[in-house]
């Protein structure tokens, strides 16, 4: 599904990603963890195609093809989705209006017929129920006046409606209380499937109690310093990140 090869990315001349290698297969859930400033969110944004970051080396292959030349919307149309750490508030456009535009843009790209208002409403109702999202929120401006939990749930709701092949969840758990976290996790779990891959970026191990990953990677200073199974998350919870960072330093020291 996704293959990241030696990915380097800059912003304003600072190198943030310093050679990431990662392979994610269909049906797999990968978690990317790491201390603050290690480049987790940058990786999520670069995957989604944010042009404020410049990819200086390496490649991203999605379904076997490089997507570096694709715009964020083209990547979305190909089936990629990014749930934002800080979902943007957009006064003046309702969620349902914008989401129908999005669904139809993607359908058009795939050569499917566009949905009319009735068909769209049917899908929206079904998915809102799945995520336990109050439908009232959909007729309000995008995320405007939403609580933190509602914003994150809206992200997962959009993911449910758009049905991506590769979903990247950027710190979806941050700022959520335990009840909101459970609802979001249930929503995500309901969307797990054999042909859908997920990358869950998180600072805390907490979320991984509810969304159990197949693989855990630890990002330190723009590189994956350590990879393992779901038990790695537990180890991190017990020991913190420092031991990995120290190991990484030692490794660098040996290498040089």
């Amino acid at each position: 599904m996704l293959e990241i090869r030696n990915l380097h990315a800059h912003i304003d001349g600072h190198e943030i990603l310093k050679g990431i290698n990662l392979t994610v297969g269909a049906g797999e859930v990968h978690s990317i963890m790491g201390p603050n400033g290690s480049g987790k969110s940058t990786l999520a944004q670069v995957l989604a195609g944010r042009d404020t970051y410049e990819v200086t080396q390496g490649d991203i292959l999605y379904k076997g093809k490089s997507i570096l030349a694709l715009s964020p919307d083209e990547r979305a149309c190909e089936g990629m989705f990014l749930a934002f750490q800080y979902p943007v508030e957009i006064p003046g456009v309702t969620t349902s209006y914008f989401l129908r535009a999005a669904v139809n843009a993607i359908r058009k790209h795939r050569g499917d017929e566009e949905l009319d208002a009735m068909d769209f409403l049917k899908i929206v109702k079904e998915k809102a129920k799945l995520i336990k999202l109050d439908q009232q929120l959909l007729s309000r401006a995008i995320n405007e006046g939403f609580s933190g939990g509602e914003k994150k749930r809206n992200e997962i709701f959009q993911m449910a409606v758009l049905e991506p092949y590769l979903a990247i969840l950027d710190e979806t758990d941050s700022g959520l209380d335990i009840d909101a976290l459970k609802i979001v996790a249930e929503g995500v779990n309901a969307l797990r499937s054999q042909d859908r891959a997920m990358i869950i970026v998180t600072h805390y191990q907490r979320l991984l109690h509810y969304i159990v990953p197949d693989f855990v990677h630890v990002l330190v200073d723009g590189k994956i310093a350590h990879s393992g199974g779901k038990e790695l998350a537990l180890e991190l919870e017990a020991k913190g990140y420092t031991w990995i960072a120290d190991d990484a330093d030692k490794a660098t020291a040996v290498a040089s």
Partner: protein, 446 residues
């Protein structure tokens, strides 16, 4: 502006006034002296120049140097079909004025509730002379500005609305002002008087449009609103005349104790627009909300000039104006807030936001606070920006291409103002108008 031009332009209106004087024998006795006094004031002051602080950014030379013909002397034949695009609901009281004259056939006043008088001003002048005389041009309107004086001197037909105490009018009153003339430039001076009795409630919509080809016409409109104690008045002003017209408007609001007035000013057409909006909060606890939206492209120029006078304590005012500027469009916002010495506990908020879609578009935003009381809350803020990159990226990650996402954000920026429009069919109608004016608005569909 050269002296020769000034003289020429005043001469045009002097000729108009002399014509009008000849025709107006038999009118209400008080009206002619009022007109004469107003014309004298206009003649004395003449057209403002950019040396005048209030007109620094708006040059009215194009108006001053055009030889207009009085619109009311131009024959017109507007059909019901031609006005359809300006209507937003059948469920309203409709008055239509074409070329400054009330058009009975196009209007649909219907049965009015008891205690409501809604008719054209010319009819009211015959039956309600005393009421009009008491209120018209009595609220510092004519003293304030040359265009208002010119309107009083030359006033054409318009709306007369009087609501008795405690009456709530459930349907909106819609007044449509059309210019129907060939390319030869005409001028018209629509005049409206709205008197809301104590504890009454009413919504009024003014729409300004052009029928047929359009030319360099000049609309100089004036509306006075008197909101008595505890009255609730919503006033909407939709300006969508053809792109080569000039439009100057004056809205003078007088608010008494605990009254609430909400105005919405939307400017979509014309080469040059100047909206003067002034409200006097002249009773304890009065509340006003002034919202505005303008879209300019090509070389359009829109100037919104607001004055909120907090004359009494415990009054609140909200000003919220937004503009979208393309090409070489120009937008001016001047918001003056006066807080008189006794007007303690004043709560005034002023916001002006502009979205620039081109490097050549220009915005001037100027707050002007004159605070003489010491226990007040007064805030103002102005933002001028481009489409937000974070928002753009967010929409794109959902599959919406960059151009559509940009359009959607521009629409969203403008559409936010429309949430203040409480008449649902009007809100939908304006939203649609907005879409047709925005770049690639048709891509956004319904």
């Amino acid at each position: 502006m050269s002296v020769a031009n000034m003289t020429q332009s005043k001469d045009v209106f002097l000729a108009h006034f002399e014509q009008l004087e000849k025709q107006s024998s038999g009118g209400a006795a008080w009206l002619l002296p009022t007109r004469k006094a107003a014309f004298a004031r206009f003649a004395e002051e003449g057209f403002p120049t950019t040396r005048d602080e209030d007109w620094r950014y708006t040059n009215v030379t194009p108006i001053a140097k055009t030889s207009f013909t009085r619109a009311c002397s131009v024959a017109s034949e507007v059909t019901a079909k031609q006005i359809e695009s300006y209507l937003f609901t059948k469920d309203c009281v409709l008055l239509v004025c074409v070329n400054g004259r009330f058009d009975q056939n196009l209007s649909a006043v219907g049965e009015l509730p008891k205690g409501v008088m809604a008719c054209c001003l010319s009819d009211a002048a015959r039956t309600q002379g005393d009421l009009i005389e008491t209120h018209m041009a009595r609220h510092a309107l004519t003293e304030q500005a040359p265009f208002a004086a010119l309107n009083t001197a030359m006033m054409d037909d318009g709306l007369f609305l009087h609501i008795d105490q405690g009456i709530s009018v459930s349907v909106p009153i819609h007044v449509l002002y059309l210019i129907d003339a060939d390319a030869e430039p005409v001028s018209t001076h629509p005049r409206n008087l709205i008197i809301a009795g104590p504890s009454s409630q009413v919504s009024v919509v003014e729409t300004y449009g052009t029928v047929g080809g359009g030319g360099s016409h000049f609309t100089n409109a004036a509306t006075e609103i008197i909101a008595n104690d505890h009255a609730h008045v919503s006033h909407y002003r939709v300006q969508c005349e053809s792109d080569d017209t000039y439009h100057v408007s004056t809205l003078q609001i007088q608010q008494h104790r605990d009254s609430q007035v909400q105005t919405f000013t939307m400017s979509l057409g014309s080469a040059l627009v100047r909206n003067n909006i002034a409200t006097v909060l002249d009773g304890l606890g009065a509340d006003c909300s002034l919202t505005g939206l303008y879209l300019v492209d090509g070389r359009q120029h829109v100037d919104n000039h607001l004055t909120v006078d907090h004359a009494k304590p415990h009054c609140t005012s909200r000003e919220f104006f937004k503009g979208v500027l393309q090409d070489e469009g120009k937008g001016i916002f001047r918001g003056r807030i006066i807080v008189r010495k006794d007007a303690q506990k004043t709560d005034a908020v002023q916001t002006n936001r502009s979205l620039l879609l081109s490097d050549r578009a220009m915005v001037e935003s100027k707050p002007q606070l004159e605070i003489l009381a010491d226990d007040v809350k007064c805030t103002h803020g102005a933002t001028i920006g481009q489409v937000n990159e974070d928002e753009l990226f967010y929409l794109q990650t959902r599959g919406v291409n960059k151009q559509t996402a940009r359009n959607l954000l521009v629409f969203a920026f403008a559409n936010e103002c429309l949430s203040d429009v409480r008449i649902e069919p009007l809100r939908k109608h304006l939203s649609q108008r907005l879409l047709t004016r925005l770049p690639h608005g048709e891509m956004l569909g319904d």
